[in-house]
């Protein structure tokens, strides 16, 4: 009976992981999850991707860049408020504190996809490779969806 329980728990855990899977990548102490991109209103317009970076390591790490075949240029951007106005600017890197997390979300930090090579349509998957200062390359799949 006990074995059945253990097996069920393991199976459930595996299922839960599988449900989250496809979107996440882990390397070293860095785990990237919940990656998504907004459908692009127009192909000639930039797109934005968002994700959550969890750092389980004892040292701060930094997201330095993102690579993908989806766009010609990819930048890290931050939307910040100044004088009541919101402004988006490139940032050189995105720090992730030791034993902490950094969320890239609408109205804040985002991955900016400039010069899209194809339209971002709801349901599409986009492969991104995140380059971290310490953890190195972490691949992740972003789902294109309306939020």
């Amino acid at each position: 009976m006990r074995r059945v329980l253990v097996v069920s728990v393991v199976l459930l855990a595996a299922l839960a992981l599988a449900a989250c899977g496809g979107s996440g990548g882990t390397t070293g102490g860095i785990t990237v999850s919940d990656a998504w991109a907004r459908p692009s209103p127009m192909m000639e317009r930039a797109g934005a991707a968002y994700l959550v970076i969890q750092n389980n390591g004892a040292a701060e790490d930094r997201l330095l860049s993102v690579e993908s075949d989806i766009a010609k240029t990819i930048e890290l951007h931050a939307t910040q408020e100044s004088g009541g106005m919101l402004q988006m600017s490139p940032v050189p890197n995105i720090p992730v504190p030791a034993n902490g997390r950094t969320e890239l979300k609408p109205g804040g930090l985002h991955v900016m996809l400039i010069g899209l090579n194809r339209e971002l349509k709801a349901g599409d998957k986009v492969q991104l490779t995140l380059n971290f200062e310490k953890a190195g390359k972490v691949p992740v799949t972003a789902e294109v969806k309306e939020q």
């Binding site: 127009m42 106005m85 490139p90 609408p106 109205g107 309306e146």
Partner: protein, 199 residues
């Protein structure tokens, strides 16, 4: 008679619920006529905001080279429309560019049509020469500024990102700060619709 006594608390509850609605938007003080402006619509036709008198107007300003803030606002407004008027023509979303250098009527058309696919009533995407845009922004206290950021996407526009709600009598009723959820805007709109006297 006693059989229907349960109606009393329910009725009181309903009244209290209507009174107790916490508005997410901020009402101008005093509430007065919405400032009108003349721009060019997404079909290249002259358009006055007051042409929409008789409808609820959800008014937002932004620009199409904006991948983060503006799609967020427009997707919220799409969701408000979905909640309060999915099949009707009584709630009109209007998006005004503050980047007249790059946003032509044709580009505005393509941009807003991405967000209004679900509806028969299409969103308005307004543009115009810089001085007309300035005249349309000022009375709503919309501020914007061109910024060179070094991005490969070209310059960026810093801008305020509130949403303005105008009633069918063409009174400016509410201002919603950036990031207010669609459900909250929808709840305010529904409350005002049902209680026109609420200030």
């Amino acid at each position: 008679m006693t059989r229907f006594r349960w109606i009393v608390p329910i009725a009181i509850g309903l009244v209290l619920a209507a009174c107790a609605h916490q508005f997410s938007g901020v009402a101008p003080n005093p509430i007065g006529p919405a400032p009108d402006f003349a721009l060019t619509d997404e079909n290249g036709q002259p358009f006055n905001l007051s042409d929409l008198r008789g409808k609820w107007i959800l008014l937002a300003y932004g620009y199409t080279h904006c991948p983060d803030v503006c799609p967020l606002t427009l997707s919220h407004l799409r969701d408000v429309k979905k909640i309060v008027d999915p099949n009707g023509d009584q709630v009109q979303v209007v998006f005004v560019t503050i980047d007249p250098e790059r946003d032509t009527p044709d580009i505005m058309q393509k941009y807003v049509s991405h967000f209004d696919k679900l509806f028969a009533q299409k969103f308005k995407g307004l543009s115009g020469p810089p001085e007309e845009i300035a005249a349309a922004a000022k009375p709503y206290h919309v501020k914007y500024e061109k910024k060179e950021t070094g991005s490969a996407d070209g310059y960026s526009m810093a801008h305020t990102a509130e949403v303005y709600l105008i009633d069918p009598q063409f009174n400016w009723r509410m201002t919603f700060p950036f990031g207010v959820k669609a459900e909250e805007i929808a709840a305010d709109l529904q409350t005002l619709r049902q209680n026109p006297e609420v200030k």
